[in-house]
Point group: C2
Chain length 234, copies 2
Amino acid sequence: MTKLPEAAIPERKRGEGVKFVYEILRDDILNLVLPPGSPIDEIQLSERLSMSRTPIREALVRLAGEGLVTTLPNRSTVVSNIDFLNLHTFFDALTLMYRVTTRLAAEYRTEADLAQIRAHQAAFTRAVEAQDALAMIATNRDLHAAIAEAGRNPYYSSLFSRLLDEGRRILRIYYSSFDDRLPRQYVDEHEDVIAAIEARDIDTADRLITQHADQIVRQIQRMIAEDRRRPLSL
Amino acid sequence: MTKLPEAAIPERKRGEGVKFVYEILRDDILNLVLPPGSPIDEIQLSERLSMSRTPIREALVRLAGEGLVTTLPNRSTVVSNIDFLNLHTFFDALTLMYRVTTRLAAEYRTEADLAQIRAHQAAFTRAVEAQDALAMIATNRDLHAAIAEAGRNPYYSSLFSRLLDEGRRILRIYYSSFDDRLPRQYVDEHEDVIAAIEARDIDTADRLITQHADQIVRQIQRMIAEDRRRPLSL
DNA sequence: TGTATTTTATTTGTCGACAAAAAATTCAGC
DNA sequence: GCTGAATTTTTTGTCGACAAATAAAATACA
């Protein structure tokens, strides 16, 4: 919040103001630079980014539509809370979308899709080797988003992206407790899934991604269970 | 577009401006009063609703987030096209969401949920008896949205609502070709599904709603096939 | 007459300002 | 010293205006 030294005010063209502030806020929210519950002050933002409140408000409307911020009428907008009490709905939807998008990817993937997917998997592998937890979270998200894109169903892709973003926030809370074993296992699991997608083997891809999804859900649940402070609804 | 006689300018409180214009535009889009491709003129709207462009733009950003309008940079916003070339992705997602939400409803429904669902089913029945195709489309949507609410998974509900809205636009195109047989059949199918939800019989509810969804998909496909002008991507 | 180029007009994206609400503060009364 | 009402301050929602960008019209030229 109080990082004035970043006086990097890149010359923005007309029409990119909303996108600019949208991406900054989105990144800050997903990386928990703005933790859940943080109030977002329009005036403060407009001063920091040296732009008027209008584009900032439009970016906030967009973020509200994606569920990342919550607008209280006539009161401040805040970063949306993570609903720990209803995490099972999140896990349920996440697992289903993992499966559906991967099945479709195995059915419809092109060579170009595979190249994209492999590039993201390579980035994920590098992040694991560098033990960079933040990069792991981000590249893992990008990999699965790329697989979803190969499935070519925008309805699924958009919901899945939203779920992956929410997962990014949740993982980010516990990223300190990553041990070294799990990420390397994920690399291998990814490789197997990608191989099945390449072979257009829908059922195998489904079976593997289901295991992968269950694995991730269990990991998050374990992280929450082991967490001393156990946030209730934050 | 050119309906000036509606000079009903209801006294709006501060903070309801965006909601007001959002709901008007949404209704007009879903009822095809604003057909796909229609340009949305901010100034014209601001004069018609006698408000400034700011709340109108925020409503447009919200609609763009839901995919109902498309904003061309530095050019006019238009009502989103219906992608007839990729309808299968729509049918796929629609069928899956029908199933998932109905299964969850059978699992988690409360008595209050059932009352809500029954009320919507009654409204749908009335619309069928009155042979009011527009009301059928709207009440059918509300019924399934209510079932989804009973499933208590906001991720599914929001995607399903979006799909039901898109279906409303598609059905609205062909509503003239409704024959009398299908709607009455839908009433009975709804009754059976509701009974299964009440009995908490997940598998039966799933089986019935799958049939119901397939039925609807086939009806839309038949309507499109029989349509002489066969819109390509409109 | 048809095409390319300049000029005009329309429309969007952004700005600064103002008034209504809410929150924070001050003050009065006990 | 504490509670509650009145006042001030802050923040939001909306407005009208202006400049960049685009579309439309007018003009020049072949």
